[in-house]
Point group: C2
């Protein structure tokens, strides 16, 4: 039996520094809980001279990642440097060398999770990635273990803190999207190039990861339909508020009745009394629906140095316990069948529509009639005057197949009195 | 290596029937996730002739619990029959016979957890009890594993569905405590003798269990100060609402700065924008504060047949995986030190007070002065006329040591113009 577990870290940025900090500060507890002392043997950095967020002995630092994944003394690789192709090759080598891997790299898993899991399994290694979804919030391990008795039918929630911060500021302060984004960038919540967050790609990667676990079938990022928040206006937020809703960026993965999977990211109206409606700022929250548990929600900080480090260390502790018990790589049963991916056009949802129409008698009725022909029935409809020529109509539909709604919108767009379909959003029930 | 894992169930009531039902319905998924087929070999019932909530082959039923815990073919005992002393003896025997045990029995663990854990450890057996706290909500395993990298400073939340249902109905419908209790009894949410729920004992047992795990130090039920909800009136709920609070029964366990533990259950005012304020009906929610994760919340159905079965089966899957991997009893590191229990008098809290006083000039000032002498400073204070002779005063204090508040209240009670101290509640910040 081993006397200690040696870690090789790839990366010493924000999360990496957090891991070093917490391992030092909570060392006693962590050693007791994991069963073996944990020692960091090497840390790979790009620049040996750079000032660090945390103090580490200079002799731990190296720029040679290959040396670390090939070091026979190292038992666990902690990958917190990001990147996709090059990082994948390093981790594949680590597995071939019999090392367990803990990573926070959602882009990598959403892209190449299947290949990595296969290589980990082949070599009897642990591959753990709790930190890749929801920052500090436990969701991967609960799906794998706590909820193992359930058939999961849906996982949905707020999985991107940047967009949730922006939407919260737009809602609470009446800010425009651009201003809220700028503020988020100044606070370090959003990147200089914010596309990955505001276009819903980051959320899409996380949804791919949790869907794979929830339904035990591999879901890749390319299987997720993503829609971002750049089209959300103050007016949408205001109308939503008037009708008792908040607008949130929702990631959702469902197993449909025919056993196929649908995975989407979209901004949606969430009823004010729904627990997700009050998840504000950089908090994330994930709902899980299962046929035994009913529903459960996991809430916490979706990003940040220490919350993410908390998840990374939870995984390190598991990897170390498995070393201790001699059970590495025993429990990788995540994706044991391949279910088909269903087009989101087959999904049923309620919808919010905002239309600009000619301000003439009979227009409301004509619109209701036209969309009714496509089986879209109307729950709420009201008209706002915007200027002397043009009126604005807001519609909330009953549940309808997305494809049917698309067809109805195409025809609506061709109607003489409909100037523009300004917004189409889903409504969470 | 084993080819299947055989289960002996003690009890086939509501939860037991749920376990049988879910094991049958989700059998394929559960077998894939646990790595081995699971077969129920025996089920202990009191009366062989009784009609059951679920269909089971008659040959599985037996009235002889000792035969089951002594059956060498049985690997895992699932205890869902309740009871304390007799049940403890059965489980101790199961451990001595090398069986792992999964239980939902919070009364037993809160009372005799230390003795049972010791015997499980001695015999290399798993002892798992996720279902004992929060019904379907994962909280035991997250504390043991996901949050293993944290020093936990506080666990608090709503851990009793019955009282949460009663308080929700009092708040939303203006019902009196007695009427809401009666309704809860009619719906099967409260027992004929509701003392264990409404006096806070059930919540206290759950808090003892989570505190033991959070602080890795044994906390027993007798270490928890409990206060129930029987004194809560419509008037308290109404005043709280006016000031922007909901009243909830809160269980709380903290590790203080000096390293000792304080554990309490009490009804408290929770600010409306606190996530716990909107946890209504029979839902439970548990907050965890740790030095890495910041805070996280786990929400779900706190009781009920299938949610509780979900937790029991999550534990069965873990027990079976450990059989599969040959790692039973490897991970019991819950309580490795003994911290002292601190009197709740040393805790600091904000308080809500409701006093009946003489309707005379200067009374308000005299009261403020008197409690000020004990270092209690006032945040909000208002006076309501109740009749021509008597006024009602509501006070919210700033944070104060509980012992100091008690002293102040003793002196207040002796004041000539104070007719009665009608209510004293904590305020969650």
């Amino acid at each position: 039996m081993k006397e200690q577990v040696r870690i090789g870290m790839l990366g010493l940025g924000t999360v990496g520094s957090g891991v070093v900090k917490v391992l030092a500060e909570n060392g006693t507890e962590i050693e007791k809980r994991s069963g073996l002392p944990i020692r960091i043997k090497s840390i790979v950095v790009r620049d040996l001279e750079k000032e660090r967020l945390v103090e580490v002995p200079a002799e731990l630092l190296t720029t040679d990642a290959w040396q670390v994944v090939n070091d026979p003394e190292i038992d666990v690789i902690v990958e917190v440097m990001g990147g996709i192709e090059g990082t994948k090759d390093l981790l594949l080598t680590a597995f071939r060398n019999g090392k367990s891997v803990v990573t926070a790299n959602k882009d990598l898993i959403a892209e190449h999770g299947d290949e990595l899991i296969l290589e980990a399994t082949r070599n009897g290694c642990d591959f753990l990635y709790e930190a890749s979804v929801g920052g500090g919030i436990p969701i991967i391990r609960p799906l794998r273990k706590d909820l193992a008795g359930n058939k999961i039918s849906e996982v949905m929630g707020i999985v991107n803190g940047t967009t949730n911060y922006i939407l919260t500021r737009m809602t609470q302060m009446g800010m425009a999207f651009e201003d809220a984004l700028k503020e988020a960038q100044e606070l370090g919540y959003a990147e200089a190039n914010p596309a990955s967050d505001v276009e819903g790609w980051d959320a899409g990667r996380k949804i791919a990861i949790v869907a794979s676990l929830a339904f035990n079938s591999r879901v890749n990022f390319s299987d997720v339909d993503t829609e971002g928040i750049t089209s959300i206006t103050e007016r949408d937020i205001d109308y939503a508020k008037q009708m008792g809703y908040a607008i949130k960026l929702i990631g959702s993965a469902k197993e449909t009745e025919n056993g196929s999977i649908s995975a989407q990211v979209y901004p949606a109206l969430v009823p004010q009394d729904h627990p997700l409606a009050s998840v504000n700022g950089v908090y994330n929250a994930i709902f899980v629906r299962g046929n035994a548990i009913g529903e459960a929600m996991f809430l916490g900080l979706g990003a940040g140095q220490l919350p993410t480090a908390s998840s990374v260390i939870g995984d390190i502790v598991e990897a170390v316990r498995n070393f201790h018990a001699g059970t590495r790589g025993k429990f990788l049963v995540d994706c044991y069948e391949q279910k088909t991916i269903q087009s989101s056009l087959e999904n049923k949802n309620r919808f919010y529509l905002r239309l600009e129409v000619a301000d003439q008698p009979g227009v409301l009725g004509a619109i209701a009639g036209k969309i009714g022909q496509h089986g879209v029935s109307i729950h709420t409809m009201f008209q706002k005057w915007t200027d002397s020529q043009t009126a604005e109509i807001v519609v909330i539909t009953h549940e309808v197949r997305e494809g049917s709604l698309r067809d109805a919108l195409n025809e609506l767009g061709d109607m003489e009195h409909v100037h523009a379909i300004k917004q189409t959003l889903r409504v969470v029930s």
